[in-house]
Structures are given as structure tokens and as C-alpha cells.
């Protein structure tokens, strides 16, 4: 039952509760991203940057959610005309919550320092000889990679379960279209974010 709440809250909770919960986490996640110098520059991206303004992570999240809602409302309506945009919106907002945990791995600039350490040791002229990496840096980078993969998996499971609940989608054909659209959403959101940043 507890797992079900983590993986498919959409089956049980109303769109109002989901929206309140999701918006709260989005605001919290954006504020934390600003403090940790993280950008969400794609529907499933999180990168550390050197310079960031307070508005950047908020704008990133708005554009990511907008892209997901736009594409998946159209897809949802094509599967089931009874699909409501408010359900897709709550799914897009809640499913992105796992990504807001990632900037927390950079508390005290730990991740930033480890990545800088690795990049400083890299000799890009001689890529055949890998650099000697500090074990602590390696551990932090591996931990971040592991948590990132888990969060990406969690996002996909949440998003599919939510989309399935909102549209009553069934069958392998819809799963394939869902994956294609998710990749398309990543491309579109990246373009939109780069346009807004230029």
C-alpha cells in the first residue's frame, strides 16, 4: 500500500490534493535548486552551473511542465476523449518531484567540487590515459549517478502510472508512443529553455 502511494498516488488522491502537493514540492525544489546552483534544463535533466539567477530553476520547471502537459494532453485526448487536462497537469507536476531531490546531493558544494576535481585531472589531449581519480570524488560521483538513475526510473513509473490513470491507456502501442513522446518532450523542453535563456 505504501509503495502504491509512492508509485501511483493518482489512483487514490483527487487532482486538487495532487496539485497542492505537487506545486508545493515544485516551489521547494526550485528554491533548493537555486541554493545548490542546479538547473532543470530538460524534462529529465538536472545540471550544476556556475552562475544562476533566482528565477532560472522556476522558469525551467514551468517550461518542463508546460511541455509535458501540452504533448500528453494531445496524446491523452487521442486515446480517450474524456481525458481532462487537469489530471495530466497534476501528473506532470507530481511525477517530476523525484528530480527535486537531486540538487540536495550538492549540499555544501560537495558534488560540484568532486566534478571539478575530476575535470581538472582530465587531460583532454591524451584521452588514452585515464586520470587518477580521488576515491572520495569517485564515490560521490557514483552515488550521484546511482541516485540520478533511481530518480529517472521513479519519474518514468510515476508518469506512466499517472498517464494510464488519467487516460485509461492500455496496450503495448500506447506504451511505445508514450516513450517516443517522452523523448520528444525532452528535446522540445531543451529548445524552449535555451530560447528563454538566450
Amino acid at each position: 500500500m505504501k509503495w502504491n502511494i509512492l508509485l501511483n498516488p493518482f489512483e487514490r488522491y483527487s487532482e486538487k490534493s495532487l496539485l497542492v502537493f505537487g506545486i508545493t514540492f515544485t516551489l521547494f525544489g526550485s528554491a533548493v535548486a537555486y541554493l545548490m546552483k542546479a538547473r532543470f534544463d530538460g524534462v529529465f535533466d538536472m545540471h550544476l552551473v556556475e552562475n544562476i539567477s533566482f528565477i532560472d530553476p522556476f522558469l525551467d520547471n514551468i517550461l518542463n511542465i508546460f511541455t509535458l502537459v501540452l504533448l500528453f494532453v494531445l496524446f491523452g485526448k487521442s486515446i480517450n476523449h474524456k481525458t481532462r487536462w487537469i489530471d495530466i497537469l497534476s501528473v506532470a507536476i507530481v511525477a517530476r518531484i523525484p528530480f527535486y531531490l537531486l540538487p540536495l546531493l550538492n549540499i555544501g558544494g560537495v558534488l560540484e567540487k568532486s566534478l571539478e576535481g575530476l575535470l581538472n585531472r582530465m587531460d583532454f589531449q591524451d584521452l588514452n590515459n585515464p586520470p587518477a581519480i580521488e576515491p572520495s570524488d569517485l564515490l560521490i560521483i557514483l552515488l550521484f549517478s546511482g541516485v540520478s538513475i533511481l530518480c529517472l526510473g521513479w519519474f518514468i513509473v510515476l508518469f506512466w502510472n499517472g498517464f494510464k490513470t488519467a487516460t485509461n491507456a492500455k496496450g503495448i502501442k500506447n506504451v511505445i508512443f508514450f516513450i517516443i513522446l517522452l523523448i520528444l518532450a525532452e528535446v522540445i523542453s531543451k529548445i524552449l529553455i535555451s530560447i528563454f535563456n538566450s
Binding site: F10, E11, R12, Y13, S14, E15, N80, K82, R84, D87, T165, A166, T167, N168
Partner: protein
């Protein structure tokens, strides 16, 4: 004891039909071969869902609140049930 009405044959899983009806007052029996009405061909859970839908005056929002589910979950159950009834009663 809550006795369940069997709707499928326990031996070959084909749909069952009614062969005998009895008056509980005078014990008169009527024999024949009567097909089960569509609603009785559904599972107990599905019958309860339809009853709940009727008692909620067809409001899926009220039903969702009563059942502790989200609105799309209840709407999906209803859509699946409509599809099943269409297949049972072409």
C-alpha cells in the same frame, strides 16, 4: 452466511443459466432454461459498483469520494464496465 450466486460453471467455466425458480412462500417450483440477465452476469464487485453509481445519482465525483479513489480511477472502472456490458449484450 452471504451466499454468492455462481455465474460461471465450476467445471468448464461456461456461463450458467437458471433451470429452476422456487416460491419461498408456497414452494411452487418453475423449471426451464432461463439465461441470466446481463447485470447478474457481472461479478459481485462489478454489481456493487453499478449499485453505488445508481445510489450516487450517477455522480462519479461523489462515488470517488465514497470509494476513496480519484475521479479518473472511478471513470476508468465505469468505462471498462460499459465495454464489458457491450460485449455481454451485443
Amino acid at each position: 452466511m452471504n451466499v454468492k450466486l455462481p455465474i460461471l460453471c465450476p467445471s468448464c467455466t461456461e456461463k450458467l443459466s437458471v433451470s429452476e425458480l422456487v416460491c419461498s412462500n408456497c414452494t411452487t417450483k418453475v423449471s426451464g432454461n432461463f439465461p441470466l440477465p446481463v447485470l447478474l452476469s457481472l461479478s459481485e464487485e462489478e454489481q456493487n459498483f453499478i449499485l453505488e453509481f445508481f445510489l450516487s445519482s450517477g455522480s462519479l465525483k461523489d462515488m470517488a469520494k465514497k470509494l476513496g479513489n480519484s475521479y479518473p480511477t472511478v471513470r476508468n472502472k465505469l468505462d471498462d464496465l460499459i465495454e464489458k456490458i457491450k460485449q455481454l449484450n451485443p
